[in-house]
């Protein structure tokens, strides 16, 4: 269990960095140009919900 949580959080942390840098505008084009502060604010949610967001991003890319 501890290993699963560690891996989930570690992957989530990496994903959150990617999301704050690039992923946020792929998910929502109207967010392009959002400031650094607000993207920082989005990182905890990206960390927590990364599997759902990854699926959304991949579906978006596929379509």
């Amino acid at each position: 269990m501890a290993l699963f949580v560690s891996v989930y959080v570690a992957v989530g942390a990496l994903f959150a960095v990617y999301f704050a840098a690039l992923g946020y505008k792929k998910l929502d084009a109207s967010a392009t140009g959002a400031g650094f502060g607000v993207r920082l604010l989005w990182m905890p949610a990206a960390l927590a919900l990364w599997p759902a967001l990854l699926v959304k991003l991949l579906r978006g890319t596929a379509s």
Binding site: M1, A2, Y24, L27, D28, S30, A31, G33, A34, G35, G37, V38, L41, W42, P44, A45, L47, A48, L49, A52, K56
Partner: protein, 353 residues
């Protein structure tokens, strides 16, 4: 609203609201520590860390109780609406206080062993069948995780991109968090408490939250006008609609329509569902000429159901006509953002004065 994203759309009201919340937290923690310290002297004296952990815990629990009361209170009495407008900030502040409690408790009670403090919460002995040995910490962690996800997704960006139904379902988790916290307190601190104060607080909280929710449901069921399947339905006299407010009508297909009176002599009907987070527009007011959602202040023009520029949200509108003093609603929704003639009742209002 959806035009660009900023961290917080600050306004004077939000500054005042947040200022009062944090002032309240600071005063509560200081008073709690002072009173607890004074009532535990000599051999029973508590360390400052223990006092701080208890102060944060009590503060967070009471804040969550208040947060859960705001919604039904605003439905029961519109004077509570100002509390609703910035409830999101109240919620995030409550999470920060709960997090402070958790961090200090983990440091104080779990970090002096050989095991990872976070792991030790889940591996320390405990039995779900024993009252005295109940692993209450796990319920606290579970509640904190829910509150974290709620705080982390509280920004409009997540509402827009996770989808309103998923977002709302996620945030309904607050009731699960509350139930988990009640178990956390009842099976932990409450069993060790020397007085009945904590028991009274938890019981009072449960009764208050449950009672207010039941009262709000009863009131909203009584207030809604139920309509038969028909294009034009009688929603009542214009006199029943308070100025700058609405009555809510449930039409045959379960759709809810808010019929507003504003500027004293104008009537307009729109969908009761806010585009933002499905908030109940009919419980809001007309502010600065716009229908304003009681949840987060999203606004729509009564005449066409469109948000004022530069925002782009739209809601369905409905036709109205008068039959003497009776307001007749066309229950067929017009496409979102459709302008239609505003029903004027100036003559009726003047005759009534």
């Amino acid at each position: 609203m959806s035009h660009g994203y900023v961290a917080v759309q600050w306004s004077r009201k939000k500054w005042v609201y947040d200022g009062l919340v944090w002032l309240g937290i600071a005063v509560f923690v200081v008073v709690f520590m002072a009173v607890s310290s004074a009532s535990h002297s000599g051999l029973e004296a508590l360390s400052p860390m223990t006092l701080l952990i208890r102060a944060f815990a009590t503060c967070a629990f009471l804040m969550l109780t208040l947060i859960l009361c705001i919604g039904p209170l605003a439905r029961l009495d519109t004077r509570f609406l100002p509390l609703l407008y910035n409830r999101r900030h109240f919620g995030v502040s409550m999470f920060v206080v709960a997090l402070a409690h958790a961090v200090l408790a983990i440091i104080w009670y779990h970090s002096f062993g050989v095991e990872n403090p976070l792991v030790s919460i889940f591996t320390s002995p405990g039995s779900y069948e024993s009252i005295s040995d109940f692993p209450f910490q796990r319920f606290g962690v579970f509640a904190l995780l829910i509150l974290f996800v709620m705080a982390a997704t509280s920004h409009d960006y997540w509402n827009a991109n996770l989808g309103a139904p998923f977002w709302k379902a996620l945030h309904m988790g607050v009731y699960l968090a509350y139930a988990s916290l009640v178990v956390h307190v009842a099976s932990g601190a409450m069993l060790q408490a020397e007085t009945g104060l904590l028991t009274a607080m938890v019981l009072g909280s449960v009764l208050l939250v449950g009672g207010l929710h039941i009262a709000a449901v009863i009131k909203s069921k009584g207030a809604q006008v139920q309509c038969e399947a028909s294009d034009w339905v009688d929603v009542g006299s214009w006199r029943d609609i308070p100025n700058d407010q609405a009555i809510v009508v449930q039409v045959a297909n379960d759709e809810r329509v808010a019929v507003f009176r504003y500027e004293g002599h104008k009537l307009a009907a729109v969908s009761n569902v806010c585009q933002h987070q499905n908030g109940p527009l009919g419980e809001g007011r007309v502010i600065d000429g716009c229908i304003t959602c009681p949840w987060h202040g999203f606004q729509y023009r009564p005449e066409d159901g469109r948000s004022p520029a530069p925002f782009t949200e739209k809601i369905a509108t409905f036709g109205l006509r008068l039959d003497g003093e009776r307001v007749m609603l066309n229950s067929v929704a017009l496409p979102e953002g459709t302008a239609r003639p505003i029903t004027l009742i100036k003559d009726l209002v003047e005759a009534a004065q």
